[in-house]
C-alpha cells in the first residue's frame, strides 16, 4: 500500500528555463544530466527564432540520453504589440513554449490577453519595468498566460538589490494568487552549480510568500500543464479543444 501511494504521489518536476548554449554540446550535456540527477523530468531550453531544426533535434537527443523530457521554447522580445502579434503568427506552431519578455506596458498588456502566449517574463533588475499589476493579472487570468519567475537572481544578488527583488516578487505573487494566474518558477541558469532540486526551488518561494502547495505547483503542475496543452495543440490529430482525430482512413 505504501509503495503504491509513493508511486501515485510522484510529481513530474519541470524547469522551463534552462539557458544553454546549443552549440556547446559538452556543457549542455553536463547541465542536462545534472538537472536529471536533481529530479527534473522535463526541461525547456530557449532557442533563437532562426534556429534550425537539426539543432533542436540534437538537443532533444542529448535529453533523451539523459532520460529527461525536452520542450522547445522561444523568448520573444517585441517592442510593440503589433510586432508581438507578427512574431506569434510566425512562431507559435514551431515551439512548444512561448515566453514574452515584457519590455514595455503595451507589450505586457497585449501578451497577457493573447491566448497564444504561455509565459510572461519581466525584466529581472529593472523594478520599474515589472508591469505585473492588478490590470495585467486580470487580463492574464482570462487567457492562458502564466507568470514566470526566475530563481537565479535570488541566488546571485545580495544586499539591497535582493531585498528590492524579493519585495517585487512578493507583491507579484500575491496579485497572481488573487487573480488565479498560475505561477511558473524556473531556474533561468546556465551553470550547473546554480541548479537546485525542485523541492529547494519550492523552499526559495517561501521567501516571497508562497505556501508549500502553491510552490510545488509552480515547479510541477503548472509548467507540465503548459507543455501538455501545447503538445496536444501542436499534434496533427488536434482539431479544437476537446476534439481530436482518433482514426483516419477508408474504414471509418
Amino acid at each position: 500500500m505504501q509503495k503504491y501511494r509513493g508511486v501515485a504521489m510522484r510529481k513530474t518536476f519541470a524547469d522551463l528555463h534552462l539557458r544553454l548554449n546549443v552549440k556547446d554540446h559538452a556543457t549542455a550535456l553536463r547541465v542536462i544530466t545534472k538537472a536529471a540527477a536533481l529530479g527534473y523530468r522535463l526541461i525547456a531550453v530557449p532557442f533563437p527564432s532562426e534556429t534550425r531544426g537539426d539543432e533542436v533535434a540534437k538537443l532533444k537527443a542529448v535529453c533523451s540520453e539523459a532520460k529527461i523530457d525536452f520542450a522547445s521554447r522561444i523568448d520573444l522580445r517585441p517592442r510593440t504589440p503589433n510586432e508581438l502579434m507578427h512574431q506569434l503568427r510566425r512562431l507559435r506552431r514551431k515551439f512548444e513554449v512561448i515566453c514574452v519578455a515584457c519590455e514595455n506596458k503595451q507589450v505586457a498588456r497585449q501578451a497577457a490577453k493573447d491566448r497564444r502566449v504561455d509565459l510572461l517574463n519581466f525584466p529581472l533588475l529593472d523594478f520599474r519595468r515589472r508591469f505585473f499589476d492588478r490590470a495585467e493579472a486580470e487580463l492574464a487570468s482570462n487567457s492562458l498566460a502564466a507568470l514566470e519567475i526566475d530563481v537565479k537572481p535570488l541566488l546571485v544578488l545580495e544586499g539591497p538589490a535582493r531585498i528590492r527583488f524579493l519585495s517585487s516578487l512578493r507583491r507579484e505573487a500575491a496579485i497572481a494568487k488573487e487573480f488565479h494566474v498560475p505561477i511558473v518558477v524556473s531556474s533561468g541558469v546556465s551553470e550547473e552549480r546554480l541548479l537546485r532540486r525542485p523541492r529547494e526551488m519550492a523552499s526559495l518561494m517561501f521567501l516571497f510568500g508562497l505556501d508549500e502547495v502553491s510552490a510545488l505547483k509552480a515547479v510541477a503542475h503548472n509548467p507540465v500543464a503548459i507543455v501538455k496543452r501545447n503538445r496536444e495543440k501542436l499534434s496533427s490529430m488536434f482539431v479544437a479543444p476537446g476534439i481530436r482525430v482518433i482514426k483516419e482512413g477508408k474504414d471509418c
Binding site: 541566488l155 546571485v156 552549480r193 532540486r197 523541492r199 529547494e200 523552499s203 517561501f206
Partner: protein
C-alpha cells in the same frame, strides 16, 4: 512549558574542495543571517549534529517552526570556504533514527 519540536535535516554539500565543519556551519549561519537577519537566525536553534568531511554530508537540527526559513537559506548558499558550492537537502525527519533510514532508502 511547551515542548519544542525539532527537525533534523540530512544535507549533501556539492563543492570542489572539502570544507571543514567550521566553514560549513559559518556558511549556513551566514546564509540564514543574510536572509533573515540576526533576530531571525536566533530563532532557528540551528545546531550541527554530524559532519562527514570525506562524504561531504551533514546533519543539522532546527526547530520545526523555522524549518521553511532554514530550507530557503540552505538553498540560497552559493559559496563555501571561498569556493563555489551548493547544499542539497536529502531528507528531513523528526528523529535522527528516521532520518538515517530515509537517507539509506
Amino acid at each position: 512549558m511547551k515542548r519544542v519540536k525539532r527537525r533534523y535535516l540530512a544535507l549533501q554539500v556539492d563543492s570542489d574542495g572539502a570544507p571543514s565543519r567550521k566553514e560549513f556551519m559559518d556558511a549556513v549561519w551566514s546564509a540564514v543571517a543574510k536572509l533573515y537577519g540576526e533576530y531571525g537566525a536566533s530563532q532557528t536553534s540551528l545546531a550541527l549534529i554530524d559532519y562527514d568531511v570525506e562524504k561531504k554530508t551533514a546533519v543539522i537540527r532546527t526547530s520545526l517552526v523555522t524549518l521553511d526559513l532554514v530550507r530557503a537559506s540552505l538553498a540560497s548558499i552559493t559559496s563555501l570556504a571561498n569556493g563555489e558550492a551548493v547544499v542539497h537537502v536529502l531528507a528531513v525527519s523528526g528523529t535522527i533514527k528516521a532520518l538515517r533510514k530515509k537517507v539509506r532508502r
